[in-house]
Amino acid sequence: MTLRSYVIGRILLTIPMILLLLTLVFIIVRILPGDPVLVHFEKKATPAMIEEFRHQLGLDKPLEQQYGDYLLGLLRGDLGKSMADFSSVGQQIFTAFPATLELSIFSMIIAVLLGVFLGARASRSYNSVEDHSIRVFGIVSYAIPVFFLGMVFQLIFGIGLHILPTGGRISPGMEPHGLALGDFRFSTGLYTVDSVLEGDPSKLFATLRYLLLPSLTLGIVLSGIFVRLTRSNMLETLRLDFVTAARARGLSERAVLYGYALRNAFLPILTMMGLQFAALLAGAILTETTFSWPGLGRYLVDRIAFRDYTAIQGAIVFFGLLVALVSLVVDILYAYLDPRIRL
């Protein structure tokens, strides 16, 4: 099978999955017991006003029509209107997304670096105290609720030692604006990138200070699976003959570990990164809440507190689509890198 046919096949497979996903969300939000509109506006409005709101939100139409509108709306990029102020949910998500993206990227980097490093070390000293401790770390990091770890960090570094901020993304006035050439403006929304584009090291430093604890928290919790994966892959590879042969040629343990064992174990790690994306998003929700990080996760939690059901639905749909897209990309990338998969 060629790469092209695999890609096409994979995309075709994604479509029914996305449809199922969207339908699932629709069912959950519309069909489960309870009238969301009623609950939201409960004590604030007269029945007449409630009917008006219902009409404005398009929730008075028959279910099938709502379903159709919902799907068609998505094709246009319309994720509904917020119950709070009838503004576009899509717009709000768009604003909040870069913060989550930035947090996710840094967390994933930390998770992979930490996980691979520890996993490699564990495989090197198989069955030793170091190996067992690292394995235990892998399990413990998975069992700690991410928000608990975050709070512990806040306690130690923020409140106890006062060296790192406990919340927020940046101090007021320090937001990087990105590239500015005359009238031309360009910013990515990622503060790290934007501060580099702007050429302001103090802003970069401030950004990193705020980014450190949240991404470290999420990174540690995610690293467990990479520790385990790297360790078992390396153990397998290290047993192979060419590793012994390499040692027989006098290569140092480090050269053997990184040049021989790790290179062969790398591809599964790449796939795992993609698979962990869903867990990353889930963890991001909790991390953002803990650190008051203004991303999608916190947006969702805020909307829950306000019982803003249409916004909640919009956010969840967005999450689902994001995950579907990322796994599609990862699958294609993997097929590109490893020809055996396509066969």
Partner: protein, 294 residues
């Protein structure tokens, strides 16, 4: 052999299996330590009415935000409630939610997995597609979605969590069924006239169960963490029940005053409980698939 006899056989085989856990090196250790941890927590929760020094809900038992002291070893919270009592009572809801969700997952996931993958064909493919869609969805997000719609309460929380994890059970059952289905002795049984139902029950189910149990234990840990997550996000239980998750969540607001004890102990308990199950799961899965690490 009747169904009861088969079930009896399975249970009888599990018990000596447990006893031989210790012999199996590190994997056995993991399982034993994990079981001990879980047991201690369950015991503590079960005996709460007798061992709790104070009423966990009573406001003003002690000073407001009092640090750990002799009379209140784990300190008091913003309402003057004794943290130790709250700790002892606090595991109950979490255990209930987790147990219920694992039960639901089991009841739904295993039969669906058995039947659809045994049936094969379109039924299998569609079930697989549906399950994959759910599985791909970020767990917490889905649980949030359902919990937000259903409202608070133990049963609702359990259901939200159960929906998220049913695909895990389904998948393990399916992979086992698919591999066992084609084995010669199953074919032989079928040629000899065994019906589909009895083939499933007598041959496939006993082989599938051990792996399912391993998944269930890890799943318990996940359920606990997801339940805590739901609480943290505001979709938990009514405030009156003492709950570790709730203490953690509310404790967040108390952090700036430096009252570290309000979150540390409940948090640690959640870790211990989840870790206990995770250890058991780790040990079990290694026992079931001993790696050729010799």
């Amino acid at each position: 052999m009747t169904d009861t006899q088969t079930r009896g056989r399975i249970v009888v085989q599990l018990i000596p299996g447990l006893a031989s856990l210790r012999k199996r090196g590190l994997a056995g250790w993991f399982a034993v330590i994990g079981l001990a941890m879980v047991f201690v927590v369950v015991l503590m929760t079960a005996t709460a009415p007798w061992i709790s020094p104070h009423d966990p809900n009573e406001i003003g038992t002690g000073p407001v935000l009092g640090p750990p002291s002799l009379s209140f070893p784990l300190g008091t919270n913003h309402l003057g409630q004794d943290m130790l009592s709250r700790l002892i009572w606090g595991g109950s809801t979490m255990l209930q939610v987790a147990a219920l969700s694992v039960l639901v997952c089991f009841i739904v996931g295993v039969p669906v997995g058995l039947l659809t993958s045994y049936a094969g064909g379109l039924v299998d493919r569609s079930a697989s597609l549906a399950m994959d869609s759910i599985y791909a969805f970020p767990g917490l997000v889905l649980a949030i979605a359902i919990a937000a719609m259903l409202g608070p309460g133990v049963v609702n929380m359990s259901l939200s969590i159960a929906v998220v994890y049913v695909p895990s059970y389904y998948r393990i059952v399916r992979s086992q069924v698919l591999s066992i289905k084609e084995l010669p002795y199953v074919e032989a049984a079928r040629t000899l006239g065994a019906s589909g139902r009895s083939t499933l029950l007598r041959y496939i189910l006993p082989n599938v169960l051990p792996s399912v149990v391993a998944v269930a234990t890890v799943n318990f840990a996940d359920a606990i963490l997801t339940a805590a997550g739901l609480t943290f996000v505001g979709l938990g239980l009514p405030i009156s029940t003492p709950d570790w998750g709730w203490d953690l969540t509310y404790g967040r607001r108390l952090l700036p005053s430096g009252a570290w004890w309000v979150i540390t102990f409940p948090g640690l308990m959640i870790v211990i409980l989840a870790l206990g199950f995770a250890f058991v799961g780790e040990g079990l899965s290694e026992l079931l698939n001993p790696k050729l690490e010799q």
